[in-house]
């Protein structure tokens, strides 16, 4: 039975991933209903995940959210190839 905040916070990640067994998820939600600090913690934990994602949104798999990538200056392409070659030698 999840009666304490410590246990609740321990299960938080699994709850958000939908990996808690049904009975434990129900107990988790019951604890949240009775405990405003844990509700607040859950909210801020969820926002942390969203924030991390949003602040780094340029990703090839999520092009809809992002602007198209810039063209690389040819000078930079050549500099990188040269640097990689010299490290390789």
């Amino acid at each position: 039975m999840i009666k304490k905040c410590k246990k609740c916070i321990e299960f938080l990640a699994d709850y958000l991933e939908g990996e808690l067994p049904e009975d434990q998820a129900a107990e988790f939600e019951m604890h949240l209903n009775l405990c405003p600090p844990c509700r607040e913690y859950l909210n801020s934990y969820r926002e942390t995940i969203k924030l991390t994602r949003k602040c780094m949104c340029d990703h090839p798999e999520h092009e809809d959210d992002c602007k198209s990538p810039p063209q690389m200056p040819e000078s930079l392409v050549q500099a990188i190839i040269k640097a990689c070659k010299s490290k390789d030698e």
């Binding site: 600090p37 942390t48 924030l51 991390t52 340029d58 690389m72 930079l76 190839i81 640097a83």
Partner: protein
């Protein structure tokens, strides 16, 4: 035994040659297995394909974190050098784009850490504290700002980058893979060479530590 390809000689002086060769490369290297084999063989054409094909996207990610052209170019160079150096460790657990992306994000965050003189924080000090009866001992302020509101403010976005950069390597890496790259638990565990269970524990601790680091900025004082 893998057949070793003859390394094509590139004449990098002539623009037309370069474009022609690049188009020829495109045909074979769109297959990731062929590309990775080429990189492992030290094939210069594969190197160039990788830089041209992925450089723009990686530069965009790095610029977002560093906001400085010269430093971004340096971090991009570091990214490709690290990628070529470690290509033998790429086991295909994640896609090549994902693997490259996490190297780029880590390179940019490390440069940011150095530039801003950000000190690494101990995760232990950032985990929630509990009373003997199991209740929270350190209930902080209510978060009044949402992730959407923060993402619209360059100053606060910079704070998020700095706080991620302050995490110890093993915790930063797991955040980059799972929450930024959104790689599955099993794939991320393979990339980091740990068990899925250990990855979950590390990720939970990393998120809790980052939550604590962001807390002072999320109470909304700065938006008033």
């Amino acid at each position: 035994m893998t057949e070793r390809r003859t390394r094509p000689r590139l004449n990098l002086c002539r623009h037309e040659d370069r474009l022609l060769r690049y188009r020829q490369m495109n045909r074979s290297y769109t297959d990731e297995t062929v590309l990775v084999t080429g990189l492992r063989d030290g094939d210069e054409a594969a190197y160039e394909y990788l830089v041209r094909e992925h450089g723009g996207r990686l530069l965009s990610v790095i610029r977002r974190i560093l906001r400085n052209e010269d430093e971004s170019a340096d971090a991009l160079q570091d990214t490709f050098i690290a990628a070529f150096k470690n290509i033998d460790r790429f086991e295909g657990a994640a896609k090549l784009t994902t693997w490259l992306h996490q190297i780029a994000v880590n390179a940019a965050l490390m440069k940011l850490r150095k530039k801003r003189n950000i000190h690494e924080r101990s995760v232990e000090d950032l985990l929630p504290q509990f009373l003997d009866d199991g209740h929270r001992a350190d209930v902080g302020p209510t978060w009044t700002l949402t992730a959407d509101q923060v993402a619209e403010q360059a100053e606060l976005t910079g704070v998020v980058h700095e706080q991620i950069a302050a995490l110890p390597d093993q915790y930063r890496e797991v955040i980059v893979l799972r929450d930024i790259e959104q790689v599955s638990t099993d794939e991320a565990a393979q990339v980091l060479n740990i068990t899925p269970g250990a990855l979950k524990v590390r990720l939970h601790r990393a998120r809790q530590a980052l939550r604590k680091l962001l807390e002072p900025h999320m109470a909304g004082e700065k938006s008033a």
